[in-house]
């Protein structure tokens, strides 16, 4: 059984923490800095950081087109904080040149400035009954979701902080800053489930891929 190969966008931000979490779970983690680094990946994590910086650099290196194209064909992607912002179709009142991975309206710095950053335990049914410790740093929230977008978590006041659309997940907080790896496990299990399905459907014509156990 070969290890899953997961990319982490490494242009700016907290990419190292995601890599460490993936390695702890037995995945191969790859730093993604250019479109060619996406080749052969089973999934991608877009980390927290400064979304303005990450968006600029993605565009400059052609990573935005490359990731958008892959998302269009079902490529699994997780975005945390800034990562969710760049995945969203609508960001604040600007026309977002984002990756169009999530049909959601996102509000940046929704809680205020850094002094309003906070920690809060939140219920995420997809991760089981134990609450998840959410670290929110100048965090965005999801103001509204389009059809086909599943809400994974809300704050006690009802504001949406985690969503999923197909194989794309976005969260407002930072699972990579905690020791709780349930979120990364969820992502890996979604990829495993997806690839098992893909390898047994007749659509997949490659004889070596059929029945391959990952």
């Amino acid at each position: 059984m070969s290890a899953m190969r997961i990319g982490v966008l490494a242009l700016q931000g907290a990419f190292r923490e995601h890599i460490q979490a993936l390695v702890r779970l037995g995945a191969d983690a790859v730093e993604v800095r250019r479109p060619r680094d996406l080749d052969g990946l089973d999934g991608l994590i877009i980390p927290g950081g400064e979304s303005t910086t990450i968006r600029l650099l993605m565009a400059e290196y052609g990573l935005d087109d490359a990731i958008r194209e892959r998302i269009g064909s079902g490529f699994p992607v997780v975005g945390t904080c800034a990562g969710m912002i760049v995945l969203a179709k609508h960001v604040d009142d600007e026309a977002s040149p984002g990756l169009n991975g999530l049909d959601v309206q996102v509000h940046r710095n929704a809680f205020g400035r850094q002094v309003d950053s906070f920690e809060e335990d939140i219920a995420i049914p997809a991760l089981g009954d134990t609450l998840f410790h959410g670290v929110f740093i100048r965090a965005p929230i999801v103001e509204s979701v389009g059809p086909g977008v599943e809400v994974l978590a809300k704050l006690p006041d009802g504001r949406i902080v985690a969503v999923r659309q197909g194989s794309v997940i976005g969260v407002s907080f930072h699972p990579e800053l905690t020791d709780d790896d349930r979120f990364h496990r969820l992502f890996l299990s979604l990829i495993a489930a997806r690839e098992t399905t893909a390898s047994t459907t007749p659509v997949c014509s490659s004889p070596t891929a059929v029945g391959e156990v990952r």
Partner: protein, 293 residues
Amino acid sequence: MERGTFTVKSGHAEMLKGGVIMDVVTAEQARIAEEAGACAVMALERVPSDIRAAGGVARMADPTIVEAIMQTVTIPVMAKCRIGHLVEAQVLQALGVDYIDESEVLTPADDRYHINKREFTVPFVCGARDLGEALRRIGEGAAMIRTKGEAGTGNIVEATRHIRTLMAQIRGLHSMSEDELMAEAKALGAPYELVRDVARTGKLPVVHFAAGGVATPSDAALMMQLGSEGVFVGSGVFKSQDPPAMARAIVRAVTSYNVPGEILKVSRGLGEAMRGIEIGTLRPEEILATRGW
């Protein structure tokens, strides 16, 4: 809901990693920095080289300037207070800045004590020349460390010395036996628990950036190759001939710090970098890095 915890303070610095924080004195400069890809800006009344030229006592910026910058950009805005000036820090926190730099670039307000940064909700970054100084600041509650370098000189040699010293001391500590740590804590003048922490993990407990003398894309990449997790650029951008081009180039050099071909590409046609100062020509009282205790 818990605010102002060490996790959210140091976590913010984690999000700045791999980025460039630029000194700006106007809203227009802040916009240039943001468009170039800066991950944050430092709002000031004067950049360090102008503080040097002006002489006199350098204090916290007028809140109006900081506020104008906060209203112009959506990236984080930092501001400087004087070493030990806890009221300037309270004012900046009330203003809502995202990070406070308790900085030797301004004239110290206290010649014995730094601010007790644990009392604040806003996180602090502090300068350090070596591991002992870094751990003392972290002990006081700093959530991010930067080298001091020698601000406003456009000369990287002091920042190089500081990052090399810091990294060598961390490596040294990591290889020590438990028995040696108390004596080492005494020698470093650093809190024992933090010394143990560094010895165990082989890294500082908070993010550390380089600062003080970065003037070119190569300077910035040098700091990254020596182990910095990001870079502050003070006078280096807006005292260069073509600030937007220099700002863009330094951001890209930090992202691609270990790809010489990329640094070559971004280094072309930038015009003149800021005019620098040879450290040996500074009088002892003009050296900023020795401020801090």
